[in-house]
């Protein structure tokens, strides 16, 4: 099971001092957080992509490229890469380059973005969000898997004889997650390709989380990638810890009350009751997050949002220490103890995908097999070749 941190890169004033970090300070603090996450042995660092204040991470591959050179083990990811407004050709090239520089320690999470105006700013129509996500991602898959691509789609200039450079490291494209909060089409998309599904549930209650993940799992099985309980699932979460739970609540409350994403609406208690947000002792965090395996089944990745709402860097680094020392080891042990042997513990990595070889299903543009195809041919999968598709 992978544990890690993800950041949205908000520049928010610290309510204790009233001072907001400069963008420069915030960017460097995100890098410090990522490096610290590696030092304490977390598995993943992921960054969001935003193109409007108060957020700074507009250029994830630049940030992750820097981190690729400064780290050795941690998986670098996005949370999310905007598949709707970015050119899929540029995504293919940027992230393939990153993958080379990071020695394969890269995966990425596709998302549609959560800021309406980002669509018109990049010349896109928000009403086409789902079709953009579908078409752009399919082109991305082809660019990463076919040496030469001819393409004509609805949303982009056609391509004739295009070769995306560099090709993915070891000719093995990065593993991709699809992040969605409430669109079943995106869960369906993840299931179709056998990609991971990340439910960013930080604002959502368990009932909805369970429903979306369950839907993805059933469709994963439908498309012939394995049993529903073997599908690759990730969840978000956010915590603030002190040894004594009252101290955690007291210290975190002004940050919660003033944070742009939470503030001035529901109370901290209401929010903690409904969502994964936990301000309390490490033990309380452990107890709450253990229940998520009951909600969504045995899952493969848990990311925590630690550096938001104006929390100072020193506090965030302390939080990451607590997470790595007291929370993750217990969660890891407990999650592994309940996991059936044939349910994967980790999502695919570059090494595991390379090990599958060029004939692995991951290398297919359309790896899905429909139930009717399986009964007709007697095959169990991997029969839709890239050549048929080209």
């Amino acid at each position: 099971m992978q544990f890690g941190v993800f950041t949205i890169g908000d520049v928010t004033p610290d309510p204790a001092t009233g001072r907001a970090p400069t963008e420069h300070e915030r960017i460097l603090s995100m890098m410090a957080i990522a490096e610290h996450a590696e030092e304490v042995g977390l598995d993943v660092f992921a960054t969001g992509e935003h193109h409007n204040p108060p957020f700074v991470p507009s250029s994830p591959t630049t940030m992750l490229g820097y981190l690729a050179g400064r780290t050795k083990n941690i998986v670098l990811s996005t949370s999310t890469t905007l598949i709707t407004t970015n050119d899929p050709v540029k995504i293919a090239e940027d992230y393939a380059m990153l993958q080379h520089l990071a020695g394969g320690r890269v995966d990425l999470m596709m998302g549609r973005g959560n800021t309406g105006p980002v669509y018109p700013w990049f010349g896109k129509d928000i009403r086409q969000g789902i079709p953009l996500a579908i078409e752009n991602y399919h082109l991305l898959r082809r660019l990463w898997r076919e040496p030469v691509v001819d393409w004509k789609g609805e949303f982009r200039t056609p391509l004739r004889g295009y070769t995306s450079t560099p090709a993915p490291l070891d000719d093995t494209p990065p593993f991709v997650w699809h992040g969605s909060i409430r669109s079943p089409e995106i869960a369906e998309q993840a299931a179709f390709y056998g990609d991971g599904f990340f439910h960013n549930n930080i604002f959502w209650d368990k009932g909805h989380v369970a429903q979306m993940v369950d839907f993805y799992r059933q469709r994963f099985e439908h498309y012939g990638h394995g049993r529903a309980d073997q599908a690759i699932v990730g969840l978000g979460g956010q915590v603030f810890m002190r040894r004594n739970s009252q101290d955690a609540v007291r210290e975190f409350r002004p940050y919660f009350d003033n944070a742009p994403v939470y503030g001035h609406g529901p109370s901290l208690e209401e929010y903690m009751n409904l969502t994964p947000l936990t301000a309390g002792s490490p033990q309380q965090v452990i107890e709450k997050y253990l229940t998520y395996a009951d909600v969504v089944g045995d899952y493969q990745r848990q990311l925590f949002l630690m550096d938001h709402a104006g929390l100072p860097l020193t506090t965030v680094l302390e939080q990451i220490d607590l997470l790595a020392e007291e929370v993750v080891p217990v969660l890891r042990r407990e999650f592994e103890a309940r996991r059936p042997a044939d349910v994967p513990s980790d999502p695919p990595t570059h090494a595991s995908l390379v090990a599958q070889g060029p004939e692995g299903r991951h290398h297919l543009v359309q790896p899905a097999t429909l139930p009717e195809d399986r009964t007709a041919t007697g095959h169990t999968g991997a029969e839709t070749t890239t050549r048929e598709n080209a």
Partner: protein, 228 residues
């Protein structure tokens, strides 16, 4: 067959004249549907009781809250809706709008709705057609032609009260007619699939969770997007 009537009252006091009006309309709808040989199940939603949850939901990126979701289910599965609000500052009450703001634009396609409003004076009666009717037209609901407006004085004796009763019966008759209509058509003669949405008969109803039988398979979503 039992028809389901959802009654939404946004009165803020207890007792509330909006609730009073809603109850009178409900009784009239019940007897009008009954007159067509059908039974009615009534669910009343007092928006006031949801006020805090609606505020939370609205300011917290749509965070679903169980009691609001429950109210949504009642409305989305209804065969007819009665919506009554007091008039504040020349329009519907803020909490009334807040309730409808928590729906998705296509949640309510084709559901018949009877609109009602209460105010201190008859001068506010245009709120029905200037505020409420456009709101429900936006949701593509079927707003019955007769709206029911009750000024305080209409709850007394006199001409106003008589007219109110007549309007209630007339509006209830219109709503009942829509509630018992089946919109089924001969197969093959009408468009089916997504284009047929809004047809109450064909309405596969309620996105009650992610029903696997109602999902568009990805091969259909991908059709035309595979770059060939």
């Amino acid at each position: 067959m039992t028809r389901r009537l959802a009654v939404i009252s946004a009165g803020v006091g207890t007792p509330s004249s909006s609730r009073l009006l809603a109850d009178r309309i409900t009784d009239a709808v019940r007897s009008q549907v009954g007159a067509r040989g059908e039974d009615v199940r009534v669910d009343v939603i007092e928006v006031r009781e949801l006020a805090a949850s609606l505020a939370t939901m609205t300011t917290a990126a749509g965070l679903p809250i169980a009691e609001v979701e429950h109210a949504h289910d009642i409305v989305r599965t209804a065969d007819g809706v009665v919506a009554v609000t007091p008039v504040f500052s020349a329009s519907y009450a803020g909490i009334f709008k807040m309730f409808w703001d928590t729906f998705q634009p296509d949640d309510l396609d084709g559901i018949p709705v009877l609109i009602g409003a209460t105010a201190g004076t008859p001068r506010h009666s245009l709120v029905l057609d200037h505020a409420m009717r456009p709101l429900f037209t936006y949701f593509r609901m079927r707003v019955v032609p007769t709206g029911v407006f009750a000024a305080t004085e209409d709850f007394g004796a006199g001409a106003g009260g008589e007219q109110l009763t007549r309007r209630i019966v007339r509006a209830a008759t219109e709503l009942a007619g829509l509630m018992v209509t089946t919109a089924d058509a001969v197969e093959g003669f009408v468009p089916t699939g997504p284009a047929a949405h809004g047809n109450r008969g064909a309405r596969s109803n309620v996105r009650d969770g992610y029903d696997i039988s109602s999902i568009t398979p990805f091969t259909h979503l991908l059709a035309g997007h595979d770059g060939n």
